[in-house]
C-alpha cells in the first residue's frame, strides 16, 4: 500500500459528490473535505482492510477492483465509486469483513480525526451530513412501518 498524489482537488470532489454521506453537501463546500483525502495505491492481493480490526477511516475506490470477503468466502466485488466503511469516520466499529485488491487499485482514504476537525470548523458540512443521515433514518423507519403494516 503506497501513498500517491495523482488527483486534482476538483477530481476528488467529483468522487465525494457521488457518496451518499455527502449527497447534501454543495460541491464548493466539499473542496475542504477533498483536501483531507489521502490517495492510496494498492497492488493485486493487498488486503487493505482486515476483518475485525477497529479503524476510523473510510475508503473510496477510484480506479480498479476489490473483493470483499470473510476468510476465503467472497461476499461481494466492488469497483470505481464503491465506498468501504462509510460510517467508520463517524462511529468507529470493528470491520465486518476483509477487503482485498483484485487489480492495481487507486483508493481515497478519509480519516476520522481531520474530518471531525473539519466538521467543527465548517458546521454547514455537519448540517448536510446530519440531514442525509436523518433522511436515511426516516426512509428506514418508513420502510419498517410499511413492513409492520403488512
Amino acid at each position: 500500500m503506497t501513498e500517491v498524489d495523482e488527483l486534482l482537488t476538483i477530481e476528488r470532489v467529483a468522487v465525494l459528490n457521488r457518496m451518499v454521506l455527502f449527497g447534501a453537501v454543495p460541491g464548493h463546500t466539499l473542496v475542504a473535505v477533498a483536501r483531507l483525502l489521502e490517495e492510496v495505491r494498492v497492488e493485486p492481493g493487498d488486503t487493505f482492510i482486515e476483518g475485525g480490526s477497529v479503524e476510523d477511516w473510510l475508503f473510496v475506490v477510484v480506479d480498479g477492483r476489490v473483493r470483499v470477503h470473510s476468510g476465503e468466502r467472497t461476499l461481494a466485488e466492488a469497483g470505481p465509486g464503491s465506498v468501504v466503511g462509510e460510517l467508520a469516520v463517524l462511529v468507529p466499529a470493528p470491520r465486518s469483513a476483509s477487503v482485498t485488491a483484485m487489480e492495481p487499485t487507486l483508493l481515497l482514504r478519509l480519516r476520522r480525526a481531520p474530518f471531525e476537525e473539519l466538521l467543527d470548523d465548517r458546521p454547514e458540512i455537519a448540517r448536510a451530513v446530519i440531514a442525509t443521515l436523518a433522511r436515511k433514518l426516516q426512509e428506514s423507519a418508513d420502510a419498517g412501518d410499511i413492513l409492520e403494516g403488512t
Binding site: 495523482e6 488527483l7 486534482l8 482537488t9 476538483i10 477530481e11 476528488r12 470532489v13 467529483a14 468522487v15 459528490n17 457521488r18 454543495p26 460541491g27 464548493h28 473542496v31 475506490v61 477510484v62 480506479d63 477492483r65 466485488e77 466492488a78 469497483g79 470505481p80 465509486g81 464503491s82 487507486l106 467543527d120 470548523d121 458546521p123
Partner: protein, 933 residues
Amino acid sequence: MLLAGQAFALGLMMAWILVPASAIFLEAYGSGLLPVTYIGAAAAGIASSASLSAVLRRRTLSAVAAQVLAGLACLLATAWVLLWKFEAEWVSFGLLVLVPIIVPIGFVFVVGQAGMLLDVRVLKATYARVIAGFALGFVAGGLAGSPLLRALGGTEHLLAAAALVAGTFLLLVEVTRRTFSAELSVVDVVHEGAERPTLRVLLRHRYITLIVAFQMLSAVESQWLDYLVFDRASRRYEDSEELAQFIGRFTAIAYGADILFLLLVAGLLLRRFGLRYGLTANSVAVMTLIGGMILAASLQGSAATIVFVLIVAARVTDLVFSDGTSRTSLSAAYQVVPSALRLVTQAKVEGLAVPVAIGASGVILVVLRWAGGTEGILLPVLTSVVVAAWIVVAALVYRGYRVNLLASLRRRTLDPAALNLDGADGLVVIERLVDSDDERDVRLALDVLAGANHAALPAILSRLTEDQRLDLRATALERLVDVEPQTAAVAARRGLTDPSFRVRAVSIRVLAAVGGAADVDDIAASANDSPPDVMVAAAAAITRLGSDAGRVRVAADLVRLARSRAAQDRVIAAQMFGECEPGEWMDRSVLRALLDDPDHDVVNAALAATRWPHEAELVHHVTDHLHDRRTSIAAVDALVRGRDSVLDDVEDHLHGHAFGRRGQVMLARVCRRIGGVSARNVLHRHVDHPDREVGLAVMTALAALAPRGTAGGAADDFDAAEMDQPGHTAVVRADLEHATYVLRALVALDGFPSTDLLRAALRDELDLVRQRLVVGLSMRHGTEALDRVQFQFAQHDPRSHALALEWLDVTLTGADRAVVAMLEPGMSDHERLRALARRFPVAAIDPVAAILELAHDRDRRWRRPWITACAIQAAAVLADDGVESAMIAEIESAINLDDHDDEIVRETLFGIRQRRSAGRSRLDPLSEVDRTA
C-alpha cells in the same frame, strides 16, 4: 366526469320540474303570485337547512345526498300522480317553492364532493366544466321538453321523467362514493364540548359572514334581474306567442352563452387572473350594465328599447358569470373555511341564507308592486345599490380568502395549558416540584412562580438559600436579589463562608449589587486562595464598593495577570476587565493585548469584556475575530453590545469582498441581533451584495427583523412599506433572471457526457437562488407565511402543495409570480425554464457554448469560482474523451491565471496544463462507475 354527470342530471331534473310547474302555476294562479313562491322558498330553505346541517354532522355527504335524492325522487313521483290522477294544481306551488331550494342543495352535494376529491387548484381549473354540466343539462331538458311532451301527452308527465333523473343522480352519487370511498368517508364530526356550529356560531367567523353576505346579495340581485327581464318583457310583448318566442330566444342565448363561456374560457380566465377576478367579475360587469341602463332610462325613459336590451344583457351576463366565475370562485373560497365547519357552512349558506335572500327579494317586490309598481327606475336603482354592496363584499371575501388560506397552511400546534396558581392545589404542586431531587423540577417551579409574580416566591427563594443542595443555594440567591434585595444581602453575607465556591461567588456578586462598603473586608477575605470565579467576583465587588486604594490593588493584579505566561491567568485578567467597574483607575489598553492574544480562550474572555463606548477604538480588533469559528460567536456578542455605535464599521466591512464571506455573514448576524432602524438600513443597503451567499445572509437577517405574520404585529418603529423597496424587488428579479440562466445551462447539459460535476455545481447554484427567493419573499410577506409555504411543499401530499401554490398565486404579483416556477415541487428543469423564460427571455444554447460561458464568465453573471473550475474540468474531460478537443484549448488560452485569485480555479487550470503538456489524462475519476457496487 362523475361530478359533471351529477351536475348534468341536476340541470336536466330542474328543467323538467320548472317547465311543468311554471306552466301549471301560471295557468292556475297567474304571475302576480310568483313573489309569494319566493317567500315560500325562504321558509322551505330554513327547514331544509336545519335538517341538512344536523344530518351532515352525523353522516357522510354521500349518504346524505343519497337519502335526499331518494326522497326527492319519491316526492316528484307523488306530485306526478297527484297532478295526473287528481289534477291537484296546488302541487305546482310546492314545486315552484322547491326549485330555489333544490338547485343550491344539489350544488352543495356536487361542490362538497368536489372539495373532498380535488385540491383547490384542480378545483379552480376544472370546476367550470362541472358547472357546465348543469347548464348543459338544463338546455338539454328544455330542448327535449317539447318532443317529450308530444310523446307523453301531458305537461305533468315531465315530472315522472324528472323523478327518473333524480334516481339517476342518486345512482351517480353512489358510483362516486364507491369509486372514491376513502376520500368521501369524512364526516363533519363536532367533538364533545365543542361549540355546535349553528348559524349564529358560524356568523361569528368574519370570513363565513362575508360568504353569507356574498351569496345573499348575489341571490337578491339575480332574482331582481330575472324579475326585471320577465316584467319588462311581459309589458313589451303583450301577445302571449311573442312573449313565449322571446322567452325561448332569451333562454337559448343565456344558456348557450353560459355553456360556451364555461367550456371555453371560464377556467382559463380563472387560472390567468385568479380568485380576485373570479369573485368580483360578475358584480362589476353587472354594475356597469345596470349603470348604463339607469342612465339610458333617465335620458330616454324606462320603456326605451336600449333599456330593455341592457336589462337582458345584465341578466345574461349575470347568469354566465355566476356559473363561470362566482360559483367556481366561491367553491374555492369554501375550501379555506376550517374543515370542521366547511360542509355545515355550505349547507347553511346555500340551503338557508340563499332561500332567505330570495324570500326577502320576494317580499320587497310585493311591497314595490303594492306601493306603485315596478316599471320605473326604482327597482334598477335598488338593484344597483345591492350590486355595489356585493362588489365591496366580494373584495372583502378575497382579502379574507388570503388570510384564511395562510391559516390553512398552518401546521397544528399544541396550545399551552395555563397553570392556575390561585388555589391551594396549585401551590401544593409547586411545593412538590421545589422539594424534588431533580434540579430541573425546582427551576420549573421557580420559573412558574416568577412568571406569575407570585407572592410566595420570596419566601421560597429565601428558604432555598439555606437548602442542603449546593447548586440550589446559588440559584436561589441569584434570583432572590431581583425580588427582595435586602433579604438577599443577608443571605449573601452568610454565603461568604459557604464551602461551595459557586455560592461564595454568587454571594460576592449579590453584595456587590446590594451591599455596602462595610462588606468589602469580608469579601476580600473570602476571596483569598479561591478559585478564579470567586477572585473575579471579589475584584469586581472591591472596585464597586471599596476605596481607591482597593481599586489600585485590583488594577495592579489585573496587569500582572494579563502579562502572565499562563493562559488561565490571562483569561482571569480578561474576565476582571469584563466585570470590574470601568474607571480611570483601570488601564484599558491592556485589553487590546488580550484581544490579540494567541489563545482563543483568552480572546473570547477579552471579547466578552469589551464595553462600549470605552472600547470604540478597538472595534477592528473585535471584527477581526469574526473570521475564526472559535472566536466568532464572542465577537458577534461583543459587537451586538455596541449597538448602533458599531454600525458604521459593520457597514464598511460589508462592502465588496475584501472582508471575506464568513466575516460578512457574521456581520449580517450582528445587524440582525442589534435590530432597530439603523441596523435595518445597513442591511437594506446590502441586499444586492455581489456575493450571493452574503446577500442571502443579509436578506435572512432582514426577514428575521420583519414582523412574523402578514397581518400586523410589527415593531413600533417598523413601517410595513420598508420591506417593499424597489431595491428588494430588483434583487428578486435579478435572482429570477439568474435562475433562468442556471436552468438554461442545466437544460443544455442535460444528457451531455462527462458533465456530472458541473451539473451538480449548477444544481447547488439553483438551490442557493431558491433560498434567496424564499428569503426575498419572506422580507415582504413575512417569514411565517413563507415558512408555512415551504412546510407544505415539503409534504408528500398534492393537496398540501396545492394550498401552498394557491397562497403564492393569490399573494404574489408582477415579476414575483415567476417565483412559483422555482418553488413548485415536481417540475422538470425544462418546465421551470419554459415558465421563467416567458418573463426573462433567453436564447437556447448548445452544451459547448454553455460550458464556455460558464468557464469564461465574461458578463460576471456567475461570479462563482467553483462553477468556473467545474466548467474547466468538464472541458478537459471532453477533450480527453475526444468529444470536444478544441474547447479546453480555447479556455486555456482565454483564461489568465493572474486574473483568478481563487485557489480552486488556479489549481484546476494549472493541473490540467501540466497534464496536457505531459500527455497524461485523468480528469474524470469514476467515469466508469461500478453500478453493481
